[in-house]
């Protein structure tokens, strides 16, 4: 662990670990199969106060920082990546409301973030990372904004009740608006039939002449790209934590199996070929963990963290796929079976190379940052 947890963070970590062992771990495979969370688990998440983890105390939340939220996401992801992914989608959105919302909007919506799921919406059917190609828009009429358009690929889409939505406010300008599912003209669309992260719904929303007041604009007019980028950077710390969690989950399964599985009267963990895979999983997990913890630490210290957060997500997403794949190989036929959890780790980890910016976009961004550093 590269960060030293404070006493409250340590108590939180112990609570989350205990919760995850008792309330999440037993349902890991069921969540994947049912494509949903058991009612008891979801109630536990909400009633225990996981949603309000980062909400400021003045709005009824716990006001834990990025070190604590990423540790929490990691601790859950070790037992089930999907529940961690659901919280990632919520935390990154709440972060933007905290940072950019007007005082009146914070007063109204941040207390609700303690019990209602929030989602961030930027992608449209015709493109993801190229957000300036978006067509969904907001038009000002008097003191109100009229919102129209279709958004897709939203983490928690359908489960979330409050959304931050990037909309065109002029041909070359994106702005971010807070939209509530209770508003007339708001509709949820279909859920994507994804292959992994099955507890987390990813879906679309439709805005048909949704009317919001001026104070539903986050930040300033035209600040949408910045807010979208900021949401990505905050999300990528948590994506790195999910990746490290999946790698740790894969490591535990692989080691437990290799210790008890025998080949020619010898546990296969004694075999060099198996040790190679376990070593690679362990190193991948450790590196992924160090990267997201470093990014979280930089964020807490108020230092630039975009590059390291992007590295945490970029490296972590590949590390978790490799870890899951190696674990599958260690388990052999059982690893390839739906009766064992490893195969869903591969499906879950694969999402991390796409969500919150594709692997390819990560490379562009990291290279840009590295070049910039050398020119300064």
């Amino acid at each position: 662990m590269s960060v030293n947890l404070t006493k409250p963070q340590m108590m939180l970590h112990q609570m989350v670990t205990d919760f995850a062992d008792k309330k999440v771990k037993p349902f890991d495979m069921q969540i994947d199969k049912d494509r949903d969370y058991p009612k008891e688990l979801w109630e536990g998440i909400v009633n225990t106060g996981f949603l309000g983890l980062t909400v400021p105390e003045e709005f009824g939340g716990a006001e834990f920082d990025a070190i604590a939220s990423s540790q929490t996401v990691y601790d859950l992801a070790v037992r089930n990546a999907s529940i961690a992914f659901t919280l990632e989608g919520h935390y990154k959105t709440v972060d933007q409301v905290i940072k950019y919302a007007t005082p009146a909007l914070k007063e109204k919506y941040l207390p609700q973030a303690n019990h209602r799921i929030f989602g961030f919406s930027s992608t449209e059917p015709q493109g993801g990372s190229n957000i300036m190609g978006n067509t969904a828009n907001a038009v000002k009429e008097g003191e109100k904004w009229i919102l129209n358009g279709n958004k897709t690929m939203i983490t928690n889409g359908g489960l979330a009740e409050v959304y931050c939505v990037l909309l065109k406010t002029s041909p070359n300008e994106l702005s971010c608006f807070l939209v509530d599912e209770d508003m007339p003209g708001f509709k949820h669309g279909k859920r994507e039939e994804f292959i992994g992260m099955n507890g987390t719904p990813v879906g679309e929303i439709f805005l048909e002449n949704v009317v919001v007041t001026e104070d539903h604009l986050l930040g300033k007019l035209g600040q949408g790209v910045e807010i979208g980028d900021q949401a990505h950077y905050d999300a990528r710390i948590l994506m790195g934590a999910i990746a490290a969690g999946i790698a740790e989950h894969a490591l535990t399964i692989a080691v437990d199996y290799a210790k008890q599985r025998e080949a020619i009267d010898t546990p296969i963990i004694q075999l060099h070929s198996i040790q190679t895979k376990i070593t690679e999983i362990a190193i991948a997990k450790e590196n992924a963990q160090l990267l997201y913890q470093e990014a979280a630490k930089l964020k807490v210290e108020g230092k630039p963290y975009a590059k390291v957060a992007t590295m945490a997500k970029s490296y972590g997403s590949r590390a978790s796929v490799i870890a899951a794949d190696h674990a599958l190989q260690v388990l052999g036929g059982y690893g390839y079976s739906r009766e064992y959890p490893v195969e869903h780790l591969i499906r879950d980890s694969r999402a991390l190379q796409i969500a919150e910016g594709s692997l390819e976009k990560m490379m562009i961004e990291i290279t840009k940052e590295v070049v910039k550093e050398r020119e300064e």
């Binding site: 006493k7 409250p8 108590m11 939180l12 225990t48 106060g49 996981f50 105390e57 009824g60 716990a62």
Partner: protein, 264 residues
């Protein structure tokens, strides 16, 4: 109409590799990572539910070194209002009698307490004695090993005692001392917000000068219990047979072996 409830909690070692003081035969607690005695969480949960029903306040009470503060913070994070730590070198080496005496004096000092709750026992010493001893010092009814608890009124409660081979239903008047079994409830998790707030609360630390205690009845001096010896039971490792194959094959083999050994 509100209840003043005291929950007595203890920090116990998490380690399986406990060390015993060769002279006093007491547990050496320094350096050990501690956790809250698991049964005490059931007692806290019971108190929180009674507070939900009747209102009032819940005060955590513990006796031990300063690092017991961690357990008290956890109790505060679960939702308790206040915490008092009885901590002094003079309290050290106390047996269950001396511990019960100091706890009961602290409860008297807190004043107007309606109910004192304990976990059924601590998982380190396993005596189940401190709760009953406190009730004797306070001269209040004691209801031990409670697995069901109802409070039809603020003054009267009914409880089911779950004993080894019987259940006993009891109606009793407050004030009283109750020890709680884990069957009574599922303790809540400390909410993240309460965790943060628990570290902003001040834990009162009382020593022998803060209480009206007889110096001859506290700590090692006030402990008549003499532990002659403590030892770990010998591990009787027998031959272990691992049955291989599918679950069906393993069960079939198990049945064959049990029958051949005349155990079935």
């Amino acid at each position: 109409m509100s209840l003043k409830i005291v929950v007595c909690v203890k920090q116990v070692p998490v380690s399986n590799n406990l060390k015993i003081d060769p002279v006093t035969k007491n547990l050496i607690r320094s350096g050990e990572v501690g956790i809250m005695n698991p049964y005490d969480k059931n007692a806290i949960e019971a108190a929180l539910r009674l507070k939900d029903e009747w209102g009032g306040e819940i005060i955590l009470l513990s006796m031990g070194p300063s690092d017991f503060e961690m357990t008290l913070r956890e109790g505060l994070a679960m939702g308790c209002d206040d915490a008092v730590l009885l901590s002094s070198r003079q309290f050290g080496g106390a047996d269950t009698l001396a511990t019960g005496y100091v706890l009961s004096q602290a409860i008297k000092q807190l004043g107007d307490v309606d109910l004192v709750l304990f976990g059924r026992q601590s998982v380190d010493a396993d005596t189940s004695q401190v709760g009953p001893i406190v009730s004797e010092f306070l001269d209040w009814p004691q209801i031990t090993f409670v697995s069901e608890l109802h409070s039809p009124s603020k003054q009267t409660m009914t409880a089911t005692r779950l004993l080894e081979n019987m259940q006993q239903k009891i109606e009793f008047q407050l004030p009283a001392v109750i020890t709680i079994r884990k069957e009574l409830n599922e303790p809540r998790y400390p909410a993240p917000r309460n965790i943060q707030q628990s570290y902003k609360k001040t834990i009162r630390v009382w020593d022998e000068n803060s209480l009206q205690v007889d110096a001859e009845r506290i700590g090692l001096k006030g402990s008549p219990t003499v532990v002659q010896n403590v030892w770990a039971p010998e591990k009787e490792a027998k031959e272990t047979t691992y049955l291989k194959g599918t679950p069906d094959e393993a069960v079939r083999e198990l049945l064959i072996q049990l029958r051949s050994s005349n155990l079935l």
